[in-house]
Symmetry: C2
Subunit: 654 residues, 2 copies
Amino acid sequence: MTKRTEGRRRVVIEAVKPQIDGGLFPIKRIVDDKVMVEADVFADGHDSLFCMLKYRKEEDGEWIETPMQLVVNDRWRGEFTVHELGRYLYTVEAWVDRFKSWRGDFVKRVEAGQEVSVELKAGAELIKEASNRAQGGDARRLQEWAGALRKEGKNGSRSSSLVLDDEMARLIEKYPDRRFSTVYAKELIVVVDRKQARFSTWYEMFPRSCAVEPGKHATFRDCERRLDYIASMGFDVLYLPPVHPIGRSHRKGKNNVVGCGRDDPGSPWAIGSEQGGHKSIHPQLGTLDDFKRLIAKAAQYGIETALDIAFQCSPDHPYVKDHPGWFRWRPDGTIQYAENPPKKYQDIYPINFEIEDWPDLWQELKSVILFWIEQGIRMFRVDNPHTKPFVFWEKVIREVKKEYPDVIFLSEAFTRPKVMYRLAKLGFTQSYTYFTWRNTKAELTDYFTELTQTEVRDHFRPHLWPNTPDILAEYLQTGGRPAFMTRLVLAATLGANYGIYGPAYELCENRPIEAGSEEYLNSEKYEIKHWDLNSPHSLKEFIGRVNRIRKENSALHSDWSLRFHPVDNDQIICYSKRVEDPVNGILIVVNLDPHHVQAGWTDLSMDALGLGTHQPYQVRDLLTGAQYQWQGARNYVRLDPQAVPAHIFSVGYR
Amino acid sequence: MTKRTEGRRRVVIEAVKPQIDGGLFPIKRIVDDKVMVEADVFADGHDSLFCMLKYRKEEDGEWIETPMQLVVNDRWRGEFTVHELGRYLYTVEAWVDRFKSWRGDFVKRVEAGQEVSVELKAGAELIKEASNRAQGGDARRLQEWAGALRKEGKNGSRSSSLVLDDEMARLIEKYPDRRFSTVYAKELIVVVDRKQARFSTWYEMFPRSCAVEPGKHATFRDCERRLDYIASMGFDVLYLPPVHPIGRSHRKGKNNVVGCGRDDPGSPWAIGSEQGGHKSIHPQLGTLDDFKRLIAKAAQYGIETALDIAFQCSPDHPYVKDHPGWFRWRPDGTIQYAENPPKKYQDIYPINFEIEDWPDLWQELKSVILFWIEQGIRMFRVDNPHTKPFVFWEKVIREVKKEYPDVIFLSEAFTRPKVMYRLAKLGFTQSYTYFTWRNTKAELTDYFTELTQTEVRDHFRPHLWPNTPDILAEYLQTGGRPAFMTRLVLAATLGANYGIYGPAYELCENRPIEAGSEEYLNSEKYEIKHWDLNSPHSLKEFIGRVNRIRKENSALHSDWSLRFHPVDNDQIICYSKRVEDPVNGILIVVNLDPHHVQAGWTDLSMDALGLGTHQPYQVRDLLTGAQYQWQGARNYVRLDPQAVPAHIFSVGYR
């Protein structure tokens, strides 16, 4: 295009959505998703426009085009499907459709009984021009059409059947004059992930606590024997805290005390010893081959293994000797250990990213991720990503996913909202959320409306954890077993991605190290635990049932359809998810009060449920099997936390 | 900056506001406005940041800097004042403030009773580094400070008074390490206009109808005699429809009939004859000197003259002969006249912008604007800008305002909302609105909330017209004199910019050409009118009173403070405007029913009025002089359309 065309571009394209921060970051989708794109498209005057959505795989040269339709008020809409993993680009192009403008005016003239012979000639000229852009049979047919119109354009013509020939209109649409078309200034990006990016069920477990014999340090072989148990609860991801050699220097003892006994195993997050660093296996767990055997066995159970990426070092990590420049040195000649003043973590050295030779550092850290990918890992839970530079993650994730687009990065950033969102924008596939501390109906409604009904959802995929090894939420400390059931149902149904830290969770472990603290008493981070998996109080069967419901109901495989429904009792929360094709609707009712029976009347949005206003319908509780015949929005619910504190209703559709 | 620094930029800057379409278009302010800028600014980790707002006149090289303050949740805010006409740029720069981070941590350590000798040495190093960036006395003082800290850093130190020295902290703040600072990627633009861009009171009048003798074509000299009348009503802008020679070919007769009599004067918008085009004066009005005399006289009355820019031609316009390529030719060898099928406007040729030599055409059209600027005109009402390419206006307005930043362009685009907004974004100073057709409380509330309380307000300055020569709104046709009073009060108080087409308005001319039409019967567009300015029914005194109230109350000089207050009667609308410094609060109550007395109870937002919840206060009706003692939100109002259908209350503040 020469500059001479600039003055003739009459169409403007604005407000293209979805779009994150002016196109600076990609939106996220999974394979086979439809990407719906909207734009404000208009020109001066009253001409008809043609508006085209264009998309392509980033590495392909050729755009694929699909027409957009006018919705209302200059808003146009189109969509395309992303069939492959990786990055797609999309943009919008539009132009004045002179033939359609002419045809529209022509119809109005004829309806007004005006003389149209000159107009017929003008139309013939437009068709002739289109024929020049066409080839072969199409060119010939357009020429013939133009000729016929010209013939009709005798003086005094007041109509023409030829103008309204739809087949010809479709033909001419194939050969538009795009010399002065406007292409939207930005090429927007979609990152396409695999299905597990949107729907996954995680189980976090310390491998060293899997031994049959109490007090013994377990091996990966022991973990293999735990797989059947994990699979029986319906989890499809096994997430392991760091499996690397653990430092000796300043190793923490039980309950995080400074100084430790000879047998204290240390925190797995104090990574590195003379036995190796981030690319090594802690010898007490086994060998790299054992590790690979475990992930292969897990795969046989339909369980994928996720690894922890914690970029920090124990004082004994080989990096400390080999790359002293990667750490922060204090004026007294020691290396700065991790701190959050006044708290001190002497067993951990943070990596200093503010260094001259950051490119070497980044290269090495990236190689850690690539190393584990080469061992078969495709899911990483990234520890505290918000304490490393944003640009680092942006570049590393981009480069890794360029080669391995199936890799999933879960951001464990419990920090300020804008920081969490930024990490999602720059590339993390899934993200930890504030769910862990959102307990009341108002808190849950507000937060999950923000996550699922605003533009946040285009980049931020929530991953819900009712507990973690670091966080025994207060609600769990005080609510007993019903609290654990409630929080599990909430996590499993509010979030298509959720996980628990077990067996602490299913065994309802709820003792904090001290009142007011969220730290577990005798935290598994600092000692080997022996869990009684066969305790009669275990929630394993309940969890298995909930996860089976998740698996069997596609409405629970995504979050965007989430809708909250009013209930006239603040202790009862009610929400639904629903998908089409095939239709599946799930209505969840949860008693948030773990101590008392609560009852109330719903005020369901029948529209969100896909039901007519007064239609009778059946709801079946997938947890208990109970069935109810309901009608309309108003229905009675009553939940006893000592029995089951929640309904997960399947909504019956004819 | 070398690429080596990229990996060390830890701060990110997002969501800088105000910002229009990702910085594609400028925001608008007037001289001496404060521009408040906000941004999300954060880094990885927990370091303290320093955040700087930067601005400059576009043509100046040097940025001026002013620190921003943290508001909440990583949101920072700063402001600067625009003192001059023209374009300013603004952006944000931020960096990690290592000294402040260190000092904050130091305080926590001391509070926890920790040993801090090494920390004191680390702080001394930071201060030493800052001293290297300083000169002269500052450098020396920083060095001394560093030395003192180093001395205090003896083994076993547990505190230091020197660290908390605020004067030293301010000193070190002058010498930050900005090597790895982040500068926001965009330089955003403010266009600064003169005060009249935000607050102006327009009177549209056909100069040819100002003759003393009925039926006679008036001259500019006659118009001079009309100035006293216009000034007495308090208008400060006199807007004249086109004053150029009017074409003869296909001239329209009375009431827009095809074919006209010998004496029919034709539409002033059918511009151009053998006597000249857009740079000429219609001979019957006088000479260019007469025109300049009129605008000089008007200026003596405090009235500025606004001219109409209507880029279209009568068939007799010199352009038709000199530049036949600037028009659209039909297959029968005639030029395409204006049409909106099936409607035809044979007396007007639109200009064809879709031509090869558009640069010449644009140059000539721009020269029309410059011509009138050279004659002393600084306000242009642009006719139908939405039928000319957006890029044309963008370039022309930009170029004109570069040379003449005091020029005001009013966009007369009654079309779809996104088109109207685009014209405002690309450079129009003020814009016609849908006010003309917004009559009910809900319509007015919704529309003016959108215009004044959303981001629209940063680029779109509403200009309200209750009537125009083209539009006799239905409400005015049916509501009698009270309707004219109501709509005038609404326009004058909802919009800091408003105008009327007179004398039709003040004389309550309300006869349409036919039922269901908004066209005036015997429209002044096609004939010379003789108005009885002394009619006892004239609203001239009422209008004068309203405009005096506008002038005297600064709350009515801008729109952003507009707030609507509930009233328990849908026929009564209530709203307020309020400014500080000095404080001025105006509360408007209007009866929208021109036929009946309406009464109701207000539910005022005391906060918006700047009053305490239960505070008694006085309201004085500036229209009638009546005073009321009110208290709290709930007050009784009653309005008789046959008397005065509105209150314009001055709210009393102690």
